[in-house]
Symmetry: C2
């Protein structure tokens, strides 16, 4: 079984230092099952009362500081690194990494990286603490490792909405260490370089190409379907870290100028059933989390587009300039 | 087809008066299908930009003033009357009543009210504007109509979380005009008087007794099942109008004193899947909307109790003193 590092000691120290009366705990979906155990340990070791957030949480864009303002003096947010946002309550970020065994997946990745010398090394929050080990491994196998800090992200770190750490890097190929395909897809589309995924949970490595081709075919089908749309719903998030109201209003104006209709719809958590009442709208544009339109595409009956995809629909961007959506903090 | 009175004229006047740049619109679930039409009319008649809230909305406890703070200068909230809360953005409440035909359901109610002279007349927001007509109808048929203002509600008005308008009324029976069973169930349980429902949408009248018996049997089964619980989750709402954190913390202390465990879990919208990660908890207590534990009971595998039901489980309230939950604003 995987064990996660919840850093109870650091949390307890902070609670005592700041004389915290009520501490809010927020976990991403995969770690929520540990919430009561972490709460129990904190209440056993301090005089603070714990308040657990049960709302869905997918990133540091989505801290419950506003919800817990007045209820908690400190929020501990697990599983993500901070974003440059102003929080209503002090927030302690704990990355809560697990003790994964890297070597098996890195061994597999070496085969797939054959012929490439300069490797751009990339990962997500959970595995940042392993970057040094991964670099050593690659260097021991004759590779040169290249990394840089992104805008608002750490060296070698990408987010689902922020690929700045991989742009304009002089490398032959990228090695992405982590789960899922979304981040690697972004790296592929932004750089057009070979991208190898080393999945530490599966203990395997793979190439992103086939997945990227499949996703692009789906995206182009969605874009083509949206070409018939006359009325658009533009979704804007009420989450502080996902809110792009200016972009939403600008897209609405652009659509209006082209003689079509658009309505800006504000949502907290986005789900297909919440769009059901808007039955007169033909397509939706997502200005909240950039992952939703791509990852949840199948769940939506009507086309759900990124802002860049809308530009293709409106004829102000070429299909050849297809780009992933990012949030600029 | 039902037509609703969205009072566009009043909204447009307010927008012009206050020189509103962006107006937020919030509709309860049943009225969301009219959102784009209302938005279109407002944008046609003013210079304001409209922002539609797509989040679920079940009451005035749940106004999107916090979510729209900074994004809109005015929120128009349809379908509910104001609660005594402090809003972050000015809120205009529009009851958005429909043109229902009352007479058929009232005719049927007369039969069921035979033998009762003093009638407590009760309704919900949507039909408040018809109270005068209903009173006349009842008086013309020899009844005496009794009503009073509630704590934070208008004369003759109940909410799902506030039955103060029907308490200590000297009547022989109640006539509830509206849909669903929840409000009548509350009236029945708080007063133990006969309660007749006149449903203007169905055009029919009925007695609440059978439904009340069925619900009480379900509630007692849930309470009995929760008697085995050792670990409780106490749900507290992050919605301003549903937040009862003090109650939640007090319940937690009471449970602790009895040698059991309790964790306070904060949620915005409550749904069964959000409780899935808390697999070590045996039962949940709902301090958010009082309707959830009763109306959605079947959706939850583990017992979901009201605070009063928890008291029965803990042996500090008798089954004979079963009471509906209310929120005291």
């Amino acid at each position: 079984m995987l064990r996660y590092e919840f850093e109870i000691g650091r949390i307890v120290k902070k609670i005592r230092e700041k004389n915290v009366k009520t501490v809010g705990l927020q976990f991403p979906e995969g770690l929520k099952i540990y919430a009561t155990e972490v709460a129990r340990q904190i209440e056993d070791q301090t005089d603070a009362v714990v308040l657990i957030s049960g709302d869905p949480c997918y990133g540091a864009c989505d801290v419950v500081d506003t919800e817990m303002n007045g209820a908690a003096d400190l929020v501990v947010h697990f599983g993500h690194t901070p974003l440059p946002l102003n929080y209503d309550v002090p927030v302690l970020f704990v990355d809560a990494h697990s003790n994964v065994d890297l070597i098996k997946s890195l061994d597999g990745a070496l085969d797939l990286l054959e012929g490439y010398e300069k490797i751009g090394l990339v990962t997500t929050t959970q595995h940042l603490y392993l970057l040094k080990k991964m670099t050593e491994f690659l260097e021991n196998h004759g590779k040169t490792v290249v990394m840089k800090k992104g805008r608002g992200t750490q060296k070698g770190q990408v987010l689902g909405c922020n690929f700045s750490a991989i742009k304009e890097l002089d490398v032959d190929a990228f090695l992405y260490v982590g789960t899922g395909n979304f981040h690697s897809l972004g790296i592929k589309l932004f750089t057009d370089k070979p991208v190898i995924i080393a999945d530490p949970y599966m203990g395997k490595a793979r190439n992103i190409d086939e997945f990227a081709d499949r996703i692009l075919r789906i995206r182009f089908a969605r874009i083509a379907k949206a070409m018939d749309a006359k009325n658009f719903g533009i979704i804007v998030s009420s989450k502080k870290g996902q809110s792009r109201l200016d972009l939403a209003q600008a897209l609405k104006k652009t659509i209006h100028k082209m003689g079509m209709e658009a309505f800006v719809i504000m949502l907290d958590d986005v789900s297909p059933e919440l769009l059901t009442p808007f039955r007169d709208l033909d397509a939706f544009v997502m200005t909240a989390c950039p992952r939703i339109a791509i990852d949840d595409s199948k769940m939506y009956k009507k086309p759900l587009l990124t802002p860049q995809e809308l530009e293709i629909v409106l004829g102000i961007r070429n299909w050849d300039d297809y780009e992933m959506d990012e949030i600029k903090y």
